[in-house]
Symmetry: C2
Subunit: 298 residues, 2 copies
């Protein structure tokens, strides 16, 4: 058995770090992730440089990613304008983001959900057919402003997305990390049984310590692709000071111990995790990195 891991540290992780990371340092980490065996990396996002100066080197990072043979690098965008820029800069796969919650979508990308779907229509038309365009459904389980998202609301959004383009990969994002496996199970169960769609992804946050349990719940429902972040890098803008994405090394540990192949070399991964988690002002997460370090120096 095999699982596909998508490393989102260079985007979701780096964007949460206040101190600007030198482009060379980012490239070193991306190279390390690639060398450890990760072949899908969300390397950056094309966004307003003013809003997110940390990612203002997106063009250089995309070029760097394109040099890594066999690496499917993906770039996050929230509108057609930035999608155009990202494709011009060489992005091979785009990730479009829209929230299930109106309030979150408005605060996150300054668009209503309907406006976002119009952007999506344009992006779907320009996306290269060689790989499916990915859609991140943010706040798919719970919204920091509106609370629990109903399953039917998410189902309706998925329906609208698939009506615009069926050639997509759909990522369910637990933005707040405030959800337990029960809700993850219920949502994926419904999605997978109701939609004739194979490319499901789960994007877990570990803010409340449920990340690994939630990933396992999604796996049991048939999800085969998971996002995670090296060193647990990332944050939660709605609970400042809290850690973010589930840590790649913890997810690798889980799957490998269950005899599910991740294609990742743990020792090489830990070296990158050490570098990434030492970045100034970085908030880190996960437990495996520290446990293995402690046991090896004991």
């Amino acid at each position: 058995m095999q699982v596909n891991l998508v490393e989102v540290g260079p985007r979701d992780g780096f964007q949460a770090i206040p101190a600007i990371i030198a482009t060379e340092e980012k490239e070193k980490i991306i190279r390390g992730l690639y060398d450890a065996g990760l072949r899908r990396v969300e390397i950056t996002s094309v966004v307003s440089n003013r809003a997110l100066p940390q990612l203002s080197d997106a063009g250089k990072i995309i070029s760097f990613g394109n040099q890594l043979s066999g690496c499917l690098t993906q770039v996050l965008v929230a509108n057609a304008k930035y999608a155009t820029t990202a494709l011009k800069q060489g992005a091979k796969k785009l990730v479009f983001v829209v929230s299930a919650s109106q309030t979150h979508n408005q605060k996150n990308v300054r668009l209503s959900v309907e406006e976002s779907l119009r952007e999506f229509r344009e992006i779907a038309a320009m996306h290269p057919p060689t790989t499916p365009l990915r859609v991140n459904i943010a706040t798919a389980l719970d919204c920091p402003f509106e609370g629990t998202m109903s399953v039917s609301k998410v189902m309706h959004l998925v329906e609208q997305i698939l009506a615009i383009s069926a050639n997509v990969e759909l990522a369910i994002c637990d933005t707040t990390g405030r959800n337990s496996p029960r809700r993850v199970t219920t949502l994926f169960n419904r999605l997978i049984s109701d939609f004739d769609q194979e490319n499901w992804v789960f994007h877990a946050h570990d803010t409340y310590g449920m990340g690994i349990a939630n990933c396992l719940a999604a796996w049991h429902e048939g999800v085969k692709t998971f996002d995670s972040s090296i060193g647990g890098l990332g944050g939660c803008p709605y609970a400042p000071g809290s850690s973010g994405n589930v840590a790649t090394e913890d997810l690798v540990w889980l799957f490998e111990d269950m005899s599910i192949d991740t294609g990742v070399d743990m020792d090489m991964l830990l070296t990158v995790a050490e570098t990434a988690s030492s970045l100034p002002t970085a908030l880190t997460g996960g437990k495996v990195r520290q446990a293995l370090k402690n046991i090896r120096s004991a």
Copy 2:
């Protein structure tokens, strides 16, 4: 649906803290746990004061526990001599500990497994019949010295225990925390189907971030009683610097979000968690405490 939580912070947590905690401070925390709704607390262990000075106030703590109406306090012991002392000091329920691994048992309690079983026979004979004597099977999944424990080895030990006394509660302890849900599922599945025994407990460590996922796996197999430690207090002597038991507040979060009643008031629990995790030289774990603190101050 309901789950039974056994708070082990005052024993497993405190014993891992190097700086001696004043008896009054311990009592304050135990009272806080009780007030938050926890009705089963492993309050101390009767052991050699030289080996574990932190717990040398066991007699006073047992007396204190006996004043909490309706609280089933339990006391850990590793041999008949200390069991006699604990009962004399007023202990109402004992927890006997034996490891599945010979090497670990020898290092942990300086007895062979066979010698431990002889101690167990004596303790079973002296234990009050009002509540079942509990047996902790340490290293039931994995040993820091011998590695993975085979299911049949654990089955054989359980068989030997039940042949001596059938009126027991059996706790499967993931001493290293190095196990994934797959192994937890396999072991409990076999134990529950092969033994006519209802009182199973799971004692999870979160050293590798698998604690919550492992508890959920045990729950799905039919386990209804779980150990946890306030603030994630506790450590791992085999990976010094690593955190220990799964945090009570994370476990309460998991179960309550799944509509499984824990009987615990989260706000009152967080107050105790804050006190416990502020103990000098304490290693803490868990995520819910920090996430809720951050979100409330955001």
